[in-house]
C-alpha cells in the first residue's frame, strides 16, 4: 500500500470530438498525508480539470488515480460517489451552498447522506465545525444572509463534515478580499498540518501559494515545475 493520499500515474484527459481537446497530459502527481499543495498556472492551463480528476468527478482517458493507495479506475459511479462522500471534501470558487437551507443544515447534509452518526451527533458536529470557523452566531442564517467570506467558510465546514482525509479546493478565495483570502489559506494550512489532512488548493495568486508546502505549476495541461 502506498503511503500517499493521492497518487496519479501518467494521467491524461482528452475530450473526444472532431478536434480532441487535451485538458491535462501525463500527470504524475503525489500528495502525502498532512501535505498542503498549491496548484498554480495560467488561466486555461488545466488546473480545474486536474482537480476534478483527483476528486473522481471526472475519469482519466489514460493513466491511473489512486486514493489512499487504492486504484480507482475500476470503481462504478456509485462506488466513486461513496468514496467522495467519505474521503474527499470539495470547495469551489463559488460557495455552492444550497440556498434554501441554513448554514447549519448545509453542513449537516453530507453527514445525513453518509448516515453514520445519529441526528444529535450530526447536529452537534455541524455546530462545532461552524464554531471552529467562527460562524457560531451565523448558524441559522441562510447563504443569502451571509457575506462572501462567511459563505466560503460554511462551504469549507461542509467539505469537512464527514472528516475526509483529503480536501480539494478550486480557487476558494477567488471572490474574497486579500485579507479574508489570507485567513482562508491559513485555515487550509492548519487543516493539513494540525489535522493531518492532504489539502490541494488551486489558485493563481502566487502570493497565497507561498503559504503552501509545495507548489505545482501547470502550463497547457502539463506540470512544468514541482
Amino acid at each position: 500500500m502506498s503511503a500517499f493520499a493521492i497518487e496519479t500515474r501518467k494521467v491524461t484527459r482528452e475530450l473526444p470530438g472532431p478536434v480532441p481537446v487535451t485538458l491535462v497530459r501525463d500527470i504524475d502527481f503525489r500528495v502525502a498525508p498532512g501535505e498542503f499543495v498549491a496548484v498554480t498556472g495560467p488561466s486555461g492551463s488545466g488546473k480545474s480539470s486536474l482537480l476534478y480528476l483527483l476528486g473522481l468527478l471526472d475519469r482519466p482517458s489514460a493513466g491511473t488515480v489512486a486514493i489512499q493507495g487504492a486504484e480507482t479506475s475500476n470503481l462504478s459511479p456509485d462506488q466513486a460517489a461513496a468514496l467522495r462522500l467519505e474521503r474527499l471534501g470539495f470547495v469551489f470558487q463559488f460557495h455552492f451552498l444550497l440556498p434554501e437551507f441554513t448554514s447549519q443544515t448545509n453542513v449537516e447534509i453530507p453527514m445525513r447522506r453518509l448516515d453514520r452518526l445519529d441526528d444529535r451527533a450530526i447536529r452537534r458536529r455541524a455546530t462545532e465545525l461552524l464554531e471552529t470557523l467562527e460562524l457560531g452566531e451565523h448558524r441559522h442564517k441562510r447563504p443569502d444572509q451571509l457575506s462572501g467570506g462567511q459563505r466560503q467558510r460554511v462551504a469549507i465546514a461542509r467539505a469537512l463534515a464527514n472528516d475526509p482525509p483529503i480536501l480539494l479546493a478550486d480557487e476558494p478565495t477567488g471572490n474574497l478580499d486579500t485579507h479574508t483570502a489570507q485567513i482562508v489559506f491559513e485555515l487550509f494550512r492548519d487543516l493539513a498540518h494540525r489535522q493531518n489532512r492532504s489539502v490541494v488548493v488551486v489558485t493563481h495568486d502566487t502570493h497565497l501559494a507561498e503559504l503552501a508546502d509545495r507548489r505545482v505549476h501547470l502550463v497547457d495541461g502539463v506540470i512544468v515545475d514541482d
Binding site: 480545474s48 467522495r84 467519505e86 469551489f92 470558487q93 440556498p99 434554501e100 453530507p110 478550486d170
Partner: protein, 417 residues
C-alpha cells in the same frame, strides 16, 4: 431532525415553486374529486337500474322461438343450391311453446326456481274516443306474483286476485293510464289484432319505476289473453325467477339445450342498456384520464423547472457524493408528494361533492324514475382514483428526475465556476 434528507430537499424545491406546485396540486385534486363524484353517480344509477331489473323483471324468459331456426326440408336436401318452388303454401301454424305443461312441470321440480307461463301480444285500448297501443300479457296471478314484482308495484288496486274477482279485469301501467286518460274502475274497450273486442274494467294500476314497462304494459288473466289472441291453450312465454340471480345465465343455457326454445337471462333482455353502461364507463374514465393528464403536464412542468433552476445544486450534491439514484429519488419524491397530497385533497373534495349531490332533490325520468341522484359509495372509487393519480404523478416526474440524475457534475461546476 425528523425528515429524511431527500424529502427535506424535495419539500424545499416545491416550496420554492409554490404557485406552480399549487396549480398542479389543484389539477390532481380535481381529477380525483371528479372521478369520485362521477363514478358514484354513474355507478349508483347503473346499480340501481340493474337491481330494479333483477327485482322487477323475470330472471329468465323462455320464448316461443329458436336461436337457430330449424332448417327447412329443401335446405337439408339441396344445401346451398338455388331452388324455384312453385305452388308453395305456408302452413298457418299456431305459434307458442309446445309441451309447455311438461316443461313447467320439469322446471318446477328444481329447488329455488319459480315459473309462470304467460301469453303476450299487442292490443289497442280504446277509451273515450282515444286509442292507445299497449302490450298485453296474460298471467296466472298465483304464479305471476312469485316471479315478478307486479303485485307490489300496484299503486291502485290491492292484489292480482282482482283479475279473478272482476269479470274481464285488466291491470295497466300508470304511463298507459296517463296516455289514455284512463283511471281506476274505468270500462275500456280492448281490441286485439285478430279483431276480438272485449269490454274490460281497470282493476289495478302499477308503477314499477321502469319507464318502458309503465308506459306500455298491461296484464289480464291468461285465459282472457288467449281469447283476445284467438289462441286457446297457448302460451308463448315462460317467466322464471330464481332465488339465486347469479344462476340466471347458466340455467338459461341449460334450458335452451334441454328444450330447444330460446331462453334469455336478464342480462340478455337488458343488453341494450347494459351496453350503454359500458360506453358511459368508457366516457367517464376518458374524461378523468384527460384531467389527470393535464395535471401531469403541470407536474412535469414544475419538476422540469426545478431541475433546470437547481442544476447547480444537483452538481454540488453529486460532487459531495450523492449517487444518481439519490438525485432521481429527490425529484420522483416531488412528483409523488404532489400526487399523494392531490389525492388526499381530491378525496376530501370528492366526498364533499358526493354528499352534496346526495342532498339534492329533483324528479328525473330516463330509463328509471328517481327523486335526485342515486349515489353509490365504495372505497373502490377512492382506491382507483388515488392509484391513478399517484401513478401518473410519479410517471410525470420520472422524465425530469432521470434527466437530473444524469447531469454531469463536471459540466455544472465548470460552467458555474
Amino acid at each position: 431532525m425528523a425528515l429524511p434528507l431527500g424529502l427535506d430537499i424535495a419539500l424545499q424545491h416545491l416550496a420554492h415553486r409554490r404557485r406552480q406546485t399549487l396549480v398542479s396540486l389543484l389539477g390532481v385534486s380535481l381529477g380525483v374529486a371528479f372521478f369520485i363524484a362521477i363514478a358514484s353517480m354513474m355507478q349508483g344509477f347503473q346499480q340501481d337500474f340493474i337491481s330494479r331489473i333483477i327485482d322487477i323483471q323475470p330472471h329468465i324468459i323462455v320464448k316461443d322461438d329458436f336461436r337457430d331456426p330449424p332448417r327447412q326440408p329443401v335446405e337439408v336436401l339441396y344445401g346451398d343450391g338455388a331452388l324455384d318452388l312453385r305452388g308453395l303454401k305456408p302452413l298457418d301454424e299456431t305459434r307458442g311453446i309446445r309441451g309447455a305443461r311438461s316443461m313447467l312441470a320439469v322446471l318446477e321440480e328444481e329447488a329455488g326456481i319459480h315459473v309462470a307461463p304467460t301469453l303476450s301480444g299487442n292490443i289497442l285500448l280504446r277509451f273515450g274516443g282515444k286509442d292507445v297501443s299497449a302490450n298485453v300479457t296474460g298471467i296466472v296471478p298465483e304464479r305471476q306474483r312469485r316471479v315478478s314484482h307486479l303485485e307490489k308495484d300496484l299503486v291502485e288496486g290491492a292484489t292480482l286476485d282482482a283479475l279473478y274477482t272482476t269479470a274481464n279485469g285488466i291491470i295497466i301501467g300508470d304511463g298507459v293510464a296517463k296516455r289514455g286518460g284512463i283511471r281506476m274502475d274505468d270500462l275500456i274497450s280492448v281490441v286485439s289484432p285478430t279483431g276480438v273486442v272485449l269490454k274490460m274494467k281497470v282493476v289495478g294500476i302499477f308503477s314499477s319505476g321502469l319507464t318502458l314497462m309503465d308506459n306500455f304494459d298491461t296484464y289480464v288473466l291468461l285465459k282472457k289473453a288467449q281469447v283476445l289472441q284467438g289462441r286457446a291453450n297457448v302460451i308463448n312465454r315462460i317467466n322464471i325467477r330464481l332465488d339465486d340471480v347469479e344462476q340466471a345465465a347458466p340455467l338459461a343455457a341449460r334450458i335452451e339445450r334441454q328444450f330447444g326454445y330460446r331462453a334469455e337471462p336478464w342480462q340478455e333482455q337488458s343488453r341494450n342498456v347494459l351496453g350503454i353502461f359500458v360506453i358511459q364507463n368508457v366516457i367517464m374514465y376518458s374524461t378523468v384520464s384527460a384531467i389527470l393528464i393535464v395535471a401531469c403536464f403541470g407536474i412535469f412542468n414544475v419538476i422540469s423547472t426545478v431541475v433546470f433552476e437547481k442544476t447547480r445544486d444537483i452538481g454540488i450534491l453529486k460532487s459531495m457524493g450523492f449517487r444518481d439514484a439519490d438525485i432521481r429519488r429527490i425529484f420522483l419524491m416531488e412528483g409523488l408528494m404532489v400526487g399523494v397530497l392531490g389525492t388526499v385533497i381530491g378525496w376530501a373534495l370528492g366526498y364533499g361533492i358526493v354528499e352534496f349531490m346526495g342532498t339534492l332533490r329533483f324528479a328525473m325520468e330516463g330509463f328509471v324514475k328517481a327523486q335526485g341522484f342515486i349515489l353509490y359509495r365504495t372505497p373502490r372509487h377512492y382506491l382507483i382514483s388515488g392509484g391513478m393519480a399517484i401513478l401518473s404523478a410519479t410517471l410525470a416526474a420520472w422524465i425530469p428526475a432521470r434527466r437530473a440524475s444524469r447531469l454531469n457534475p463536471v459540466d455544472i461546476v465548470r460552467g458555474a465556476g
